[in-house]
Symmetry: C2
Subunit: 248 residues, 2 copies
């Protein structure tokens, strides 16, 4: 199944835990495709560059730049940002292992935001021109591309809904924490413990809150024994209570 598990040390990175290909949103178009010809297995080589590392603060792309690739996070975290006038950074979202980056640029053929590595990270990189060329030739691949896009459409919608149901700051934060938990837990063990790779400043920015407000809410949650935080480590003590707050 996972054809790209072998070259872990080839990248030269230290101890990165790469996500399994089975759990990656890019998977539909990364699997070897079955065709009549025998050249099948090397098809993905035409457009896929596996596990490209990004160092901290590296820009995968910047807003306005013409589209060349779409990405899937293999390890680490990326943030998506946009500069408003005048030069305030607005955080549009975060991307964790298994999630896509840049797919919304397929239509305008131009990236509409920045994608920046938070800490050392890595991505699989899909060259769009080559992918489209291949998919023209291989119907099964094109079908997989449709599958990928429909899944992504659903994910985007879910994300939209979670934010538009904007209520109190508390419920926003509660929803965000549960969302993080879900996206960060390896599906085997949905642990209640999670490490914040993101700064609280970035989280506050993303949620449209002031950093002071976010801090106060964390403190309040701590006091009420809903969470327990030490430095970047967070343990969710009362998921059900947070759930209730999230859909208040």
């Amino acid at each position: 199944m996972t054809q790209c598990k072998l070259d872990m040390e080839a990248t030269g990175e230290k101890n990165h835990k790469y996500i399994a290909c089975e759990r990656c949103a890019m998977q539909p178009i990364c699997l070897p495709v079955k065709t009549q010809q025998s050249t099948t297995l090397s098809l993905t080589d035409q457009y896929l560059a596996k596990r490209t590392p990004s160092q901290k603060d590296h820009y995968l792309f910047t807003q306005g730049q013409p589209l060349t690739d779409i990405f899937a996070v293999c390890s680490g975290t990326y943030k998506l940002t946009k500069l408003s006038k005048f030069n305030e950074e607005k955080v549009l979202g975060f991307r964790f292992p298994g999630e896509l980056i840049g797919e919304d640029a397929l239509h305008p053929k131009t990236y509409t935001h920045n994608a920046i590595a938070i800490g050392d990270s890595s991505v699989c990189r899909v060259n769009v021109d080559n992918l489209l060329a291949c998919s023209q030739a291989v119907p099964d691949l094109q079908l997989s591309l449709v599958e990928l896009l429909t899944r992504q459409s659903f994910i985007s919608q879910a994300q939209f809904e979670s934010l538009i149901a904007k209520k109190s700051a508390e419920s926003l934060v509660a929803a965000f924490l549960l969302n993080l938990k879900q996206r960060l837990s390896s599906n085997e063990q949905p642990s209640n413990e999670l490490t914040l790779s993101i700064s609280k400043d970035n989280i506050a920015n993303f949620l449209g809150l002031r950093r002071e407000t976010l801090s106060r809410i964390f403190s309040k949650f701590q006091k009420e024994q809903l969470i327990q935080q030490s430095k970047k480590q967070i343990i969710i003590l009362a998921p059900e209570t947070l759930e209730n707050m999230a859909n208040s």
Copy 2:
């Protein structure tokens, strides 16, 4: 180009101004597809039902229902809603002529919200099973489907960004008005005059404001000569000023 212009009176509706197919987001998969065979032109008949009317308050589908079709609005307006516990209606968005409905249900194969006609409206209806079957057989159609999905991905992202940059209620309303103007104007004449098919209650709900707040903001805009409203008719007097408020 537009193959479906002839049956205007066939629907039996009074004076509906249907949007031109050229401006519809469904267009990529509604055009006749060129293939080698001579049966080409009737391909869309396999999955496309043109201009199906909906009366006021008609549900196109409800949340939880299994996916059968995706839709494009031909005339009128639809609202997308979801019921939270306990039974409060949350408005997730509006769909105007030329816009898609239900495409985000392609992946889970289940509609995740309700789509309700506001006033008498009409849609083109695409049967998903038949579409996918056809697209398997006709690569060009599948390519068009990819095109449709990538465009939609972009639109969803833009929508998401406009909401996440959530600032003051004033700027929200300013942005909403300009967004309406853009979506409602026939592209020939981007008029500053628009008719609110939607109730202010629904708008307030969508924007996450109280109806009182929305009313006050409209009154303020009126007083400041930014807009002029009489009943459901709204004239935007100072688009630039609103633009500035929108990206404050």
